[in-house]
């Protein structure tokens, strides 16, 4: 529960920051002469991802999906401890990965198949390989599965700090 509350907080902070930024922009547009607009606060080139603690290693059991939300609670995802080192894997064993679980084709929730370590879409049968960076094994999506950039600190806390593809249903990964 503690984790969820934090996520809500993070989401709220992101929302407020975005809103305040937009409002300030509008105000300057109205108030300032055209020439001065170039001096408005510059936007950043990249999406600023929050660093969110999603779990502690102790929470993760081998090959059991651990439900999370990132970058906010409306973006469901999963952490997996695969039990074998994979490219992009975090943690002392290089085996912890995290993915968005919204299918990047039409937004249906993906199911984890522990037997072959894949995420599967009941909508249109797309399949993503959790051991191969979320590569679409077969399916309709025009992107491989968005994967989390993870950091594990010395206490074993697992933080997500970024994504490598656009999440379905939002035109900015951080809303």
């Amino acid at each position: 529960m503690d984790r969820c509350n934090k996520l809500v907080d993070v989401g709220r902070r992101q929302f407020l920051r975005g809103g305040a930024f937009a409002a300030a922009g509008m105000a300057t547009a109205v108030a300032m002469p055209a020439q001065a607009q170039t001096k408005a606060a510059p936007g950043l080139a990249l999406v600023e991802y929050p660093s969110n603690k999603l779990a502690n290693i102790a929470d993760l059991k081998p090959n059991e999906p651990f439900d999370v939300g990132y970058p906010d609670e409306n973006a469901p995802g999963v952490l997996l401890k695969l039990g074998m080192k994979v490219e992009g894997g975090a943690g002392p064993d290089g085996d912890i990965v995290g993915f968005s679980t919204i299918c990047p084709h039409k937004g249906f929730p993906l199911n984890y198949n522990a037997e072959d370590r894949t995420l599967n879409c009941p909508g249109h049968y797309s399949r993503f390989d959790c051991e191969a960076g979320g590569q679409q094994i077969w399916g309709q999506a025009t992107q491989n599965l968005p994967q989390y950039l993870l950091r594990v600190d010395d206490k074993g806390d697992v933080f997500a700090e970024g994504l490598d593809e656009l999440i379905y249903g939002r035109l900015s990964n951080v809303l």
């Binding site: 929302f15 975005g18 809103g19 937009a22 990249l46 999406v47 991802y49 409306n74 973006a75 490219e87 992009g88 919204i102 990047p104 084709h105 039409k106 937004g107 249906f108 199911n111 984890y112 198949n113 072959d116 894949t118 599967n120 879409c121 009941p122 909508g123 249109h124 049968y125 797309s126 399949r127 390989d129 051991e131 191969a132 960076g133 979320g134 590569q135 679409q136 094994i137 077969w138 399916g139 309709q140 999506a141 025009t142 992107q143 491989n144 994967q147 970024g162 994504l163 490598d164 593809e165 656009l166 379905y168 249903g169 939002r170 035109l171 900015s172 990964n173 951080v174 809303l175």
Partner: protein
């Protein structure tokens, strides 16, 4: 790691973005899309009044939302000379796809030419000629002058027999009514070229001669029929991967039982259950799997026959259904001829068929019951669908005929929930003057080229190096012959036109070949060409096509063609202008006059000259009306306008003077006369009407029980089994160990001509895969991803091994027409009596070349089958 774009945010489409109607230019299904464009210095916002969707984009959107697009649907392109943002996203209001985008179509934006974002920079931007030992840019006038002079010289020496043509005949990208008319008027109107072939086969022929000869056009139903059928029998096709959104949007509802309400409404008074599916395919496909997942295994019958034995199965089904008394006797009596004769000639017992096909008697009986056993006294509605497994399979003509026999015997053509249709590859878009002079069988053009025939070869959107049979041999000879001309051209200064033409003609006289390639990219065969002419594609020009249910739409031009490239129809017109000039300069005024009538300035001119004036119902069709009808368009043939009284719907009656037996599709891909009048080479095309009245179309063909024969009756075909029909196939089977079955995969469109520069696709499939049973792999000491050589007496090619436990022993499946390993290299030259290739029945041996190369090591080799968890 798998390929990732590292895109975390996309520009938002502003509320005032321009909107264009778009039909996906790849497969036959023709999904509806919209292209939104807006200035690069402008963007929408998250507030509802700031974006085109009118929704709050600061919130996560729900599944299936129209208010989202993926990075592959976004790009920056040129429009009227200016950079604009573009988003090409599926249209939820299109009845074909209802907002679904496939992994191919939903990449249209990303597959567009963009210098700004470095996509598809392979596109040709200038005419190119062989000069100083390599291809160099030049002007249209210079390139076309050279082509016209050499073509005229070859005609003078060899007659039109010396002019060889390879040309698309389809719709969508690299085709469409405008462009088939442009090329058709040039080669069948101004000239009467005989040595011509189509993009994917070595002759100018129908892939479905048999069904047409029987009086049944091959696209006779509508997509809704898949929602209404009691049973769908699908033969040699894999619609989940090759007609994806037709399958997802129209088959799945019937498999899930969610179309029952529609069935009760449209077909009252009979019992309705979710559909049963019979799939005839030697290989277990993702289509089989999806049907089992949705309908339950008990409603899916996968008949994994011995490769190439479909015909024996269909004959046995007709025989058995006849014995059971399940035929539609009234329909047979009223609408067909020759049933009893064909039944007797084709008689095949269940036991005989079981022996040939490898199925059990019970499986065949079960299939017969699902197809034709009455349901509570009512006729069972069965839809039959087939594609390349049959078309490019053993004994094409008879096998096609035997399946149509089955559909006719059970009364399943022209009725709701029925149809006997090809599923299709490209969209259709055929509009050409008569090709009757080509003859039947048509010339085996690729074989003639191998034999040294012909002096000049014009290629329009074809790449034989990837998509022909006997490809190894073809490439070797084609390179030899075109190299002779290249060497001759290099022996004189390019600027001396007369010397250049003389040198080329001299080399042609010694067996050389002058090759002109019209395409959007430098193709594989284009490596051998002397002139490359850059074409525009769909969306860079206005383009009309029809889909697999004859649904005709206009894709509006939403971006500029790259550089100097032009629509094919205008390239054909300009080539005709140059030929006219060259012949006139030579004093051949009579010949020159044949090339008049090509003063088109726009693709709409070509449309008005061709489709509007010549196709059945064409008089009702204009760009303005199509534009107004959006992505839903109408189903050909057009029969009237708006509220006016439609013309007699449906099909031909054989009335004297009626040249066209039915809608335009019957002329598509080949043989039937389509035009109501000969093309004219005088005057300008008619001015298009400005009105935007609704065009009335035709939902199903043959709904009146009248077929394309003089007496309106379809004819049953005699289709006796004769083993592996194409010359040399049985010997090949006896000699080599592995069946090299072949076909498509979901990621890739056609021969990967655009996909070869798409990171998502090439990351997944850097080499063609070959699916093999793990036990076969073990015998050859192969691991997943290993590169293997596939070889036989026809040639050799390569593929990466994909372990596939569901594959039968010694039966592999290789990706077809892929640039980094061409399956056609090992396909024999054997064809059927009408020069239809037989790609599917190919046998070869396999040996290891190397361990998995670097580009393969990160790939997933897990099963492609979804499993419910």
């Amino acid at each position: 790691m798998a390929y990732k774009r590292q895109i975390g945010r996309l520009p938002i489409i502003p509320a005032d973005a321009k909107v264009h109607n778009v039909v996906c230019h790849y497969c036959i299904v023709g999904c509806g899309y919209h292209a939104y464009t807006w200035d690069t210095n402008h963007q929408g916002g998250t507030a509802p009044d700031q974006n085109v969707f009118g929704v709050d984009l600061s919130q996560q959107q729900e599944a299936e939302t129209p208010a989202w697009y993926s990075p592959s649907m976004y790009n920056i392109v040129k429009q009227d000379g200016k950079d604009v943002h573009i988003v090409i996203k599926p249209d939820r209001d299109c009845v074909v796809n209802s907002g679904l985008g496939s992994i191919r179509g939903a990449r249209m934006a990303e597959m567009s030419f963009s210098r700004q974002r470095n996509t598809q920079l392979q596109r040709l931007t200038d005419p190119m000629v062989w000069r100083y030992g390599q291809m160099q840019p030049t002007s249209w006038d210079d390139a076309l002058d050279l082509v016209a002079r050499v073509t005229a010289a070859v005609i003078k020496e060899q007659g039109e027999e010396g002019v060889f043509i390879s040309a698309f005949d389809h719709g969508g990208a690299g085709g469409g009514y405008e462009n088939t008319w442009g090329t058709g008027k040039l080669y069948f109107g101004a000239m009467k070229v005989k040595n011509i072939r189509i993009h994917n086969r070595p002759a100018y022929n129908s892939e479905v001669h048999a069904t047409r000869d029987m009086g049944v056009g091959e696209l006779n139903n509508c997509y809704e029929d898949a929602e209404l059928a009691d049973t769908i029998m699908v033969v040699g096709a894999n619609p989940l991967e090759t007609q994806t959104n037709y399958f997802l949007n129209h088959w799945i509802p019937n498999l899930r039982g969610t179309s029952t309400e529609k069935k009760n409404k449209e077909l009252p008074g009979e019992p309705h259950e979710p559909v049963r599916v019979i799939i005839v395919d030697p290989r277990r496909t993702v289509t089989v799997n999806a049907c089992e997942i949705e309908a339950g295994k008990e409603r899916v019958l996968h008949l994994a026959i011995n490769s190439g034995t479909d015909l024996a199965l269909f004959n046995a089904l007709v025989t058995h259904i006849g014995h059971q008394g399940w035929t539609d006797k009234d329909f047979i009596a009223a609408s067909t001829n020759g049933f009893d004769k064909a039944l007797a000639a084709n008689r095949t017992t269940l036991e005989q068929a079981a022996e040939i096909t490898g199925l059990t008697v019970d499986q065949i009986k079960q299939a017969a019951a699902w197809i034709a056993e009455p349901k509570d006294g009512k006729r069972r509605r069965t839809m039959f669908a087939y594609e390349k497994g049959l078309i490019w399979g053993n004994d094409n003509y008879r096998t096609n005929g035997s399946l149509v026999n089955l559909a006719l015997a059970t009364g399943n053509i022209g009725r709701p929930g029925g149809g006997c249709v090809r599923l299709g590859g490209h969209q259709e878009g055929y509009s050409r003057p008569s090709d009757a002079h080509v003859g039947r069988p048509a010339a085996y053009v690729d074989q003639l080229l191998i034999e040294g025939k012909g002096g000049v070869h014009h290629i329009w959107g074809c790449d034989h190096y990837k998509t022909t049979l006997n490809a190894h041999q073809f490439k070797r000879r084609y390179k030899e012959r075109t190299d002779m001309v290249k060497d001759a051209m290099s022996s004189v200064p390019y600027g001396d036109r007369q010397a250049t033409v003389d040198a080329i003609v001299g080399a042609v006289g010694k067996g050389g070949l002058f090759s002109v390639d019209v395409d959007i990219i430098p193709t594989k065969i284009g490596q051998a060409s002397h002139v490359l002419l850059p074409a525009a594609t769909s969306g860079e020009m206005n383009l009309t096509s029809m889909n697999g249910e004859r649904r005709m739409r206009l894709t509006e031009r939403y971006m500029d063609p790259p550089g100097q490239s032009m629509p094919d129809c205008l390239i054909a017109a300009r080539l005709a202008n140059h030929l006219e000039r060259v012949f006139r300069e030579a004093g051949d005024n009579a010949v020159a006059d044949q090339f008049k009538g090509f003063d088109w300035q726009t693709e709409e001119d070509a449309f008005m000259d061709g489709y509007h004036q010549h196709e059945k119902g064409g008089e009702f069709v204009t760009y303005a009306r199509l534009r107004a009808m959006g992505t839903n368009g109408f189903q050909e043939p057009a029969t009237g306008l708006g509220e006016t009284e439609p013309l007699a719907a449906g099909t031909s009656t054989g009335e004297p003077g009626e040249v066209l037996g039915g809608p335009a599709i019957e002329g598509a891909r080949g043989k039937e006369p389509v035009q109501k009048a000969a093309p004219t080479n005088a005057g300008s095309p008619p001015e298009p009407a400005a009105g935007t009245e609704r065009i009335i179309g035709t939902k199903r063909l043959y709904a009146d029980g009248k077929f394309n024969k003089e007496d309106g009756k379809a004819v049953f075909a005699e289709t006796q089994w004769r083993g592996l029909q194409a010359a040399g196939k049985q010997e090949e089977k006896d000699k080599f160990t592995f069946l090299i079955n072949n076909g498509r995969t979901n990621h890739v469109w056609q021969s990967a001509y655009l996909d070869q520069q798409n990171e998502l696709v090439m990351d997944r499939w850097p080499y063609p895969f070959i699916e093999m049973n793990p036990a076969d792999m073990a015998e050859l000491s192969l691991n997943q991803g290993d590169l293997v050589e596939v070889y036989n007496d026809n040639g050799a090619t390569q593929a990466a091994v994909y372990p596939t436990p569901t594959a039968k022993r010694k039966e592999t499946f290789m990706l077809f027409a892929f640039p980094t390993g061409v399956q056609g290299n090992v396909v024999s030259p054997g064809v059927n009596e009408f020069i239809i290739p037989n790609y599917k029945q190919t046998w070869a041996n396999i040996r290891k070349i190397s361990d998995a190369p670097e580009g393969v090591k990160h790939l997933s080799f897990k099963s492609q089958e979804y499993q419910a968890t």
